[in-house]
Amino acid sequence: MRGTGGFMKRFLPKNKLTFADVVVCFAIALITLGLSLSFAFSKNEKPCKIEVIVQNQSSVYSLEENDAIGIESCGFRYVIEISDGEAFISSATCPDKTCAHMKPIGKRDGSIVCIPGELIIKTLNERGDGDDADIILP
């Protein structure tokens, strides 16, 4: 007899969709929907500034003026472009460059975080309240 033993030997999951699968998938879909709705309705104010945090050093830029900001962090170079009230990373030298493919933030609330470069870009409203972050996993 092969194997190392254990209670798992006595059964194998089925290879056809079961009622339990449907319940599990439905529960996950419901939780996802609830989370999405709570995030969608929790932010209403239009952002007017962005906060750029590089290795815990913070600086704020207005979204009303077009600009291109060059940043270097953890050996990677980034260019953050502000154009027509939106901010996005136009170029990045981080390993996967996922942050450069993120949707612009500004017209909508949101943030861009590049973990390899320890860079966080967050939208701020008039009162200076921050927003949630979109995390780029390495």
Partner: protein
């Protein structure tokens, strides 16, 4: 109760676990080459093909063996293709994914199929990574991105679950009962 393996059986087990690990690493590499982001534009999106091997090992060998293979895969993947931060993220994801497989398979036993199990595993893998990122960034803000990755977990879990379902059940049974018949 776990029985003691003879030295011959132990060698066979080590060989099989090495094969599992190699398959898992190959699938991780293939996954990295696939332009999955073109079809589902979610940053951090991964199919999780290596999870297929972990689940086969879980039911074919034992939960402990599957955990060892999963941990070794994460470590070797980080050494070959990643860095320290990718190891920490993958470790959290793999650990929570493994715990979810353990809990669901223990609770639901033969009521659940590979599809449900893979979906739960994929979703909890993402949750594990997000708990890690929340610690990394020092904010719960990371969770705003969680719904998107939960959807991707649902899709990817279904894909890997279907792959597991179409695999011949022989590959599990042979490991458990093959030579006892």
């Amino acid at each position: 109760m776990m029985r003691t393996l003879s030295s011959r059986e132990r060698i066979k087990l080590i060989c099989r676990l090495s094969a599992y690990l190699s398959f898992a690493l190959i699938l991780s590499y293939v996954e990295a080459l696939l332009p999955a982001g073109l079809f589902i534009p979610i940053p951090g999106f991964k199919l999780g093909l290596a999870n297929i091997i972990v689940i086969i090992c879980y039911f074919g060998e034992s939960p402990l063996c599957a955990f060892g293979v999963s941990l070794a895969r994460v470590l070797i993947s980080a050494l070959l293709f990643g860095n320290l931060s990718s190891f920490v993220f993958s470790f959290f994801g793999a650990a929570l994914s493994f715990i979810s497989i353990f809990v669901v398979s223990a609770l639901l036993k033969d009521k659940i199929s590979f599809i449900g199990l893979s979906v739960v595993s994929a979703v909890f893998h993402n949750i594990g990574q997000f708990i890690c990122s929340a610690f990394y960034v020092g904010s719960l803000a990371a969770f705003s991105y969680l719904p998107a990755l939960m959807i991707s977990g649902l899709i990817c879990g279904t894909v890997t679950g279907v792959i597991l379902c179409v695999l011949p059940r022989k590959i599990f049974f042979e490991r458990n009962f093959g030579s006892s018949k």
